[in-house]
């Protein structure tokens, strides 16, 4: 609680009594769609990318603005401006195609990118030259960002460029595949954290980060002594020596920075003695001491460009210590002109915090607290990468300039000619297509930053955009980072996390959380200094630790102290609400640390709340009405101080009411709608608040595998795999989230009538019984699209791939069966039915052959090109799947390398079969165990038959009450012809729904009396019967079934290959082997492990026991005593390998009969 509210509280108490409750605001949830129009879901990716492309890239340019040469001081190159243009593509010789669309890039395997152009000023000889619009590289463009052509297009215009209006954007198209830069979670930078290290010692750490460098500084306590640890120091250095090195020479000053109180002095006394022990009294001595501990620099710091060290004199040794203190230790505290005062105060604070924790006055900082986390988005990750490559680009230019200017040349150096585009383009494209983010200057190497956008279903794509990846290693067995933190409330979805190793590390954003981008801190700083913050430069160290002073931090940097922290907090808050400060500036207090933290940095998670003042929400029914009428947008609510964003830290200081009725005199904020605390995937679940929580988590994982519709442009796409449903349906029981995420427009599933009963015994263990007639009529019928790709290239040696038409059978003059579906161009024709092993693209590749001259090898496959004979090798692409497909479309185009690109889209239509996987929206998956005839199915008094029978044993242990409620609501909805709501923490109530059912002449509990279709007798039990939305999951028997009798073998071991894709054998594993051994079935063992695997006959010399060949022992030089035995080939291989290592395995043979 801040004082502002505390004052308010006193007033409220006099004004309104406790009994006066707030009236619920109707349709308050309308704020959520209004919010989603401007922020949330994928908007943070867009905002972040826009920030990078429009602002950050310019900052990067400005901090690397000038290139000079050591060889010629007159030479310089100065960047004046940088900008990212509009998406275009380069089509060969300086041709650009300006009208490139993302869909074209997807189909043609290109990168959707825009040129990065700069304006420069440089010297050519003695001339000063200006150049405008010089392209230095290409930047992949995020779809729907401000640079994307899709931005602000109407639905019809989107259809014209073959894009889906509901596609969220926020991803890139790199080399034809859609790549998402996942949100990366990190510990926040520039904050003091007290924790324990791996050996359980207390330590205080600060991860400093500025645009130039990153460093980690620790203050540790060992045997009562405090010292600084840093990875550039070979050894821990006592804190007192560091203080002295920074010019704080007197012990009194040192103690002042930490605190004059007795407890601090006594705790620190031992450390002070360290100085004396080390013989350090003056700054000079301290610097010398530190110098001896600083690790020798192997290479020059990145800030100064390489090559300088040659000409510049090596600085005196002490400079290394000064350099360490000013540039490596706690780098985020600047020390202008060698003034170490602020750094000393900060170091003092760190030590003080450590001592406080030691004494038990303060608690350890919680690393898992979400306020201590920052999320990195595409924009900031790209900025890191771009700055790195831009610096490398500049140093490359400098190197060229140095080399060129050393020599005297006829023509003056024109540096522009050496500015090549491919370095920047390739680095960014490679990083994005592999996901390996290598930032050389921070020695940072992160893998798996990007992922291919999953297009299994619309929800899976949307869910991917909200995914947060943690940098925490998956192998460590610590539960802290994985468990759900209370501070994640409303920011992250509590349900949506994978199971298994990444559990709790991969998270998903809640519906209305937003991630901030960096905003300017100057206005905040000015405000702070105007509202009573005292600058520390002119006061003594001890000032900081006086109990009446509160420390004011801005983005982790100590700004000054204030006597009245209330005033500071109020000032920031009021100005933010009035719109004079960025709405994402947050302010929070820590009473224990006497601090006020103000943040304006990027990557904080925040969430909108309705402001409550004097026990009354600022939002009124009139406002909601205006919103309904379209007279207000969400921004207006923020500007008018009705709604504000709270980040995790500020949320900790707020008292938030979930419902209007809970508003008390102390309440500061009101939740917009509780269902928004769930994410996109969990939002699909009807009545999730009635389910056991892991079930919701399972559904979050399964919703991403459900088939349905992907996007409106699904017919135009050629994806490597695409699953669609023939007849997808909107769910009968929907939720607000479903409406907001357009799931109804792009659904994945179908409403089926379910009877919850036992039937036939083929429904045990979650198996489902399907009605054959329903399948006949199209229930669960799906389409599977796959594509086959081939390129036809030209090679530098004048040869090229060729496509040949079908080969003819010499007798019948008809195409051979393999080539039956080829047209004259050698590609399958659209509409063809392709059987296994048939050729799809009949491509032949030139073989690098010897010299020209018609040799004897000249055959039908040899043609002469430019006087040379070229042999062609058949590299045709054939169809491998065991079930036939139809060729839906054939695309002929060319890619960026100007090779012809052929893509064939193959289609299969599948009806559900035994073993196909289905799931409801409650984490209840099951496979089809039986397909029953309609007349055999149970029916109700209307003659209605279920589509699906589900075993009731699925319920008691899973406790998915939500599913029961979905059935009730669905049934009532069907009877009324309406859709019912199953929104989380709301939705239609069971009582009302049941009454609707009863009014329609149905049983109140949703049960029906069924009659057995087999006997015609009424079932003795009443059956829970009604519609439930079922998803068909992508796992289908057809893709998994596999058997083998004989088949391919691995070349090395001659054992059967492994895996379905290689037509592999089924392994008799070691546990199965153990069973057979225990049972004593030795002949079966021999058969399975040798005869059916890699049986091999060898000749063994009975004399020496070494393997010979063809009845001859090379060792004994005789063929006298050879025996022919059968051993596994792998065994023979082992013997040979051992022999190659000078170990002779000998076989000791004896006759079986002896």
């Amino acid at each position: 609680m801040t004082g502002g509210q505390a004052n308010g509280r006193a007033r409220i108490k006099s004004e309104c009594g406790k009994d006066q409750k707030c009236m619920p605001l109707e349709d308050k949830w309308l704020l959520v769609p209004a919010f989603l129009k401007v922020r949330g879901l994928v908007k943070q990716h867009l905002v972040s990318f826009d920030h990078f492309v429009n602002i950050e890239i310019r900052n990067i340019m400005q901090s690397n603005q000038k290139i000079t040469s050591d060889a010629n001081p007159n030479f310089y190159l100065k960047y004046l401006d940088i900008r990212v243009g509009n998406p275009s593509s380069e089509e060969g010789l300086n041709m650009t195609h300006d009208k490139i669309t993302p869909q074209e890039c997807r189909l043609r395997d290109m990168t959707y990118s825009a040129p990065i152009s700069v304006d420069i000023e440089y010297t050519r000889g003695n001339q000063r030259v200006f150049k405008k619009d010089l392209i230095i590289g290409r930047m992949p463009i995020m779809l729907r960002s401000s640079k994307c052509i899709l931005r602000d297009l109407a639905e019809e215009e989107l259809a014209r460029v073959q894009e889906c209006p509901y596609d969220p954007g926020g991803y890139f198209v790199v080399k034809g595949s859609e790549k998402v830069i996942l949100i990366q979670e990190q510990l926040s930078k520039n904050r003091i954290m007290v924790g324990r290290n791996s050996s359980k010692e207390l330590q205080c750490e600060v991860l400093s980060s500025t645009s130039e460098r990153k460093s980690k500084t620790y203050v540790t306590m060992k045997k009562g002594k405090y010292s600084v640890r840093h990875n550039q120091l070979t050894d821990d250095v006592p804190v007192s020596i560091i203080f002295k090195a920074m010019g704080v020479e007197s012990d009194y000053d040192i103690v002042s920075t930490i605190g004059h109180e007795e407890k601090y002095v006594s705790a620190f006394a031992q450390t002070l003695e360290e100085c004396i022990n080390a013989g350090v009294y003056t700054q000079q001595q301290a610097l010398a001491y530190v110098t001896s501990k600083v690790k020798a620099r192997k290479f020059t710091p990145f800030g100064s460009l390489p090559g300088t060290s040659v000409s510049v004199l090596t600085p005196p040794k002490e400079h290394e210590a000064v350099d360490f203190l000013s540039n490596s230790m706690i780098t985020h505290i600047a020390c202008p002109d060698g003034n170490f005062k602020m750094k000393a105060i900060y170091l003092g604070l760190m030590t003080r915090r450590l001592i406080q924790t030691e004494l038990g006055e303060n608690e350890l900082d919680d690393r898992d607290f979400y306020g201590n986390k920052r999320l990195e988005l595409a924009g900031s990750l790209l900025a890191l990468l771009f700055e790195d490559v831009f610096k490398r680009f500049n140093s490359e230019l400098k190197r060229i300039a140095d080399n060129a200017l050393m020599k005297t040349m006829a023509a003056p150096l024109d540096i522009v000619k050496h500015m090549r585009q491919d370095m920047i383009t390739n680095t960014i494209v490679n990083a994005m297509s592999t996901g390996n983010w290598i930032i050389k200057r921070f020695r940072m190497e992160r893998l798996g930053v990007t992922q291919v956008l999953s297009r299994l279903s619309y929800i899976s794509a949307l869910g991917m955009m909200t995914r947060i990846n943690s940098t925490f290693e998956k192998t460590r067995k610590v539960s802290g980072p994985r468990s759900l933190q209370p501070s994640q409330w409303g920011m992250l979805c509590p349900s949506d996390t994978p199971e298994g190793e990444a559990c709790g590390l991969v998270k998903n954003l809640a519906l209305i959380s937003h991630i901030t981008t960096d905003s300017d801190e100057k206005p905040v700083l000015r405000l702070l200094l105007n509202s009573g913050v005292e600058d520390l430069h002119n006061v003594h160290f001890s000032h900081v630790n006086k109990p009446e002073n509160t420390l004011i931090f801005l983005n982790g940097v100590l700004i000054g102290t204030a006597v009245d922290p209330e005033r500071v907090v109020r000032a920031v808050r009021d100005l933010r609400r009035s719109g004079l400060l960025s709405e994402f500036v947050s302010v929070s207090r820590s009473i224990t640390n006497r601090s006020v933290f103000i943040s304006s940095d990027g990557g904080r998670l925040c969430r909108p709340y309705i402001i409550v003042k004097n026990g009354k929400p600022m939002l009124t029914q009139d406002h909601v009405q205006q919103l309904k009428e379209g007279k207000r947008i969400f921004e207006d609510f923020v500007d008018d101080g009705i709604v504000e964003y709270l980040d995790v830290n500020e949320m900790n200081d707020a008292l938030i009411a979930v419902y209007e009725k809970e508003i008390g005199p102390e309440t500061t904020h009101l939740e917009i709608e509780p269902f928004t605390l769930l994410g996109v995937c969990a939002g699909l679940i009807p009545y999730p608040h009635h389910n056991q929580s892991p079930r919701n988590t399972y559904q979050c994982a399964m919703g991403k595998q459900a088939m349905g519709t992907i996007a409106y442009n699904q017919q135009k796409r050629i994806d490597s795999i695409m699953y669609l449903l023939c007849y997808p349906q909107r769910p009968l029981v929907k939720s607000k989230t479903i409406e907001l995420t357009n799931f109804e427009k792009l659904p994945a599933g179908a409403n089926g009538i379910i009877a919850v009963m036992s039937y036939s015994g083929y429904d045990i263990e979650d198996a489902l019984v399907l009605n054959k007639a329903s399948l006949d009529r199209g229930y669960g019928r799906c389409l599977v699209y796959k594509h086959v790709k081939g390129t036809v290239r030209k090679y530098p040696n004048q040869t090229f791939d060729r496509l040949l038409g079908p080969a003819l059978d010499p007798n019948t003059r008809l195409p051979i069966s393999k080539h039956k579906n080829l047209d004259q161009e050698g590609i399958v024709f659209a509409g063809a039915r392709i059987l296994p092993k048939q050729t799809i693209i009949n491509k032949h590749m030139p073989v690098v052959s010897g010299e020209s001259g018609p040799g004897p090898s000249a055959s039908a496959n040899t043609i002469g090109i430019a006087g040379r004979q070229v042999d062609y090798k058949d590299v045709s692409i054939s169809y491998k799947t065991p079930t036939p497909s139809y060729a839906e479309r054939v695309l002929l185009t060319y890619n960026e390398d100007e090779a012809h690109l052929i893509k064939v889209l193959l289609r299969q239509t599948r009806r559900p079969e035994l073993g196909d996987k289905f799931s409801s929206r409650h984490g209840q998956k099951g496979v089809c165990g039986l397909i029953a005839q309609q007349e055999d199915m149970p029916f109700n008094d209307l003659g209605m038959v279920p589509d699906m029978i589900m075993n009731p044993h699925g319920y008691p242990s899973r406790m998915t009450v939500g599913k029961l409620m979905e059935l009730l609501s669905g049934k009532a909805g069907v009877m009324n012809g309406t859709y019912h709501y199953g929104t989380a923490f709301g939705g239609d109530q069971v009582k009302d729904v049941c009454e609707e059912l009863a009014a329609r002449g149905y049983n109140y509990m949703g049960k029906d009396m069924l009659t057995s279709g087999i006997t015609g007798q009424s079932l003795s039990a009443y059956i829970y019967f009604g519609p439930i939305y079922y998803q068909k999951l992508k796992h289908m028997v057809l893709d998994k079934m596999h058997a083998r009798a004989r088949g391919p073998r691995a070349a090395l071991t001659r054992q059967p290959t492994e895996g379905r894709s290689r037509e592999g054998g089924l392994r008799l594993g070691e546990m199965e082997r153990d069973c057979l051994i225990a049972y004593g079935a030795s002949m079966l063992l021999i058969e399975r492990l040798m005869v059916s695997s890699d049986e091999f006959k060898v000749d063994v010399c009975t004399g020496c026991g070494v393997i010979g060949s063809k009845g001859w022992c090379q060792k004994c030089r005789s063929s006298k005593s050879m025996a022919n035995i059968k051993i596994p080939y792998a065994c023979k291989l082992l013997f040979q390998e051992l022999q190659s290592m000078n170990i002779v395995p000998r076989l000791d043979l004896a006759r079986y009969t002896e």
């Binding site: 023939c726 054959k772 329903s774 003659g943 049983n1003 009443y1022």
Partner: protein
């Protein structure tokens, strides 16, 4: 013997779409086999073979073929004259076992064109017997095999008013420049093979409306809505009849709704006919078997 006497039947409601009757003095197994035969073994005509010449619509070939298959056809006159393809002597298709249709549509306007069952043309003109012009039209509407929807159903006339406005069944919508050109054969089949040949929509079947036999155990009798066939007095507070220990199902309330492929009374008569035929064939087989036995001895 309780069922030594003849089973009785009483039709309580009859139209082309719906038939309700009560069957009594027979066994549950007989009643249930009737129900099953109505659904699964009464033959109708449906498209079973589609050859697509051109398809530039948004739906792919299999999708359209599936949709074509699900169209119900007026099969009253033809189905009994037709042969099952598997029993027919012809090699592929003949007039005995199949009826050819063509569908040729191309959208030339800006507006979307809905391809419906009305655009499906029967190729077989032999089915119309030419007498006089008036007769032709009457016969045509009865005797050609047409999709059981829209105009065809209206002409046949149904008992229920609201069903008169039934629309033609939509197959696919075409945009300007899109074309659909296909040839299809309708064949005879029954519901067991594929649901498209099922002539019924719902076959309701009830016995013991007051649960006197206690085949079902109601946990809470008050919760259950009363059956339409209940014999309990209107004003009685009792929801269940008293338990009849020795009772057996005797009276069966049937309600059959048709898809339009066959008038419902035809479904019932054909269903009974099929059951009868099955028994006759069984009888034949048995007598042959007995003869063979006699010869052996």
């Amino acid at each position: 013997m309780p069922y030594a006497n003849q089973p009785n039947i009483e039709v309580t409601e009859l139209s082309n779409d719906l038939m309700k009757f009560v069957l009594w003095d027979t066994d549950l197994s007989v009643a249930n086999s009737l129900r099953r035969v109505f659904m699964a073994e009464v033959p109708t005509i449906a498209i079973d073979w589609v050859q697509i010449e051109t398809n530039t619509s948004v739906l792919h070939d299999e999708f359209i073929a599936h949709r074509m298959g699900l169209i119900p056809f007026l099969s009253d006159y033809h189905v009994e004259k037709m042969q099952y393809t598997r029993e027919c002597e012809c090699a592929e298709f003949c007039d005995e076992c199949s009826i050819p249709f063509i569908l040729q549509m191309k959208c030339k306007d800006e507006a979307t064109l809905a391809v419906t069952t009305a655009d499906l043309r029967c190729m077989n003109n032999d089915t119309v017997i030419v007498c006089s012009k008036k007769v032709v039209t009457i016969l045509a509407c009865f005797q050609t095999v047409r999709p059981a929807c829209g105009k065809a159903l209206r002409e046949r006339g149904t008992g229920r008013e609201d069903f008169h406005n039934r629309e033609e069944i939509l197959i696919v919508k075409l945009r300007k420049g899109q074309e659909l050109n296909l040839k299809a054969y309708a064949k005879k089949g029954f519901g067991k093979e594929h649901a498209k040949w099922n002539p019924t929509c719902g076959v309701a079947f009830e016995y013991d409306p007051d649960n006197a036999l206690r085949h079902t155990i109601y946990p809470n009798v008050e919760e259950w809505p009363r059956s339409d066939h209940s014999a309990l007095p209107e004003d009685s507070t009792e929801k269940e009849a008293p338990f009849d220990q020795d009772g057996k199902p005797n009276k069966f309330f049937f309600s059959i709704e048709g898809t339009g492929a066959l008038p419902v009374q035809r479904i019932v008569t054909m269903g009974i006919g099929i059951l009868k035929k099955k028994l006759e064939e069984l009888n034949m087989a048995l007598s042959l078997e007995l003869q063979a036995h006699a010869q052996q001895q």
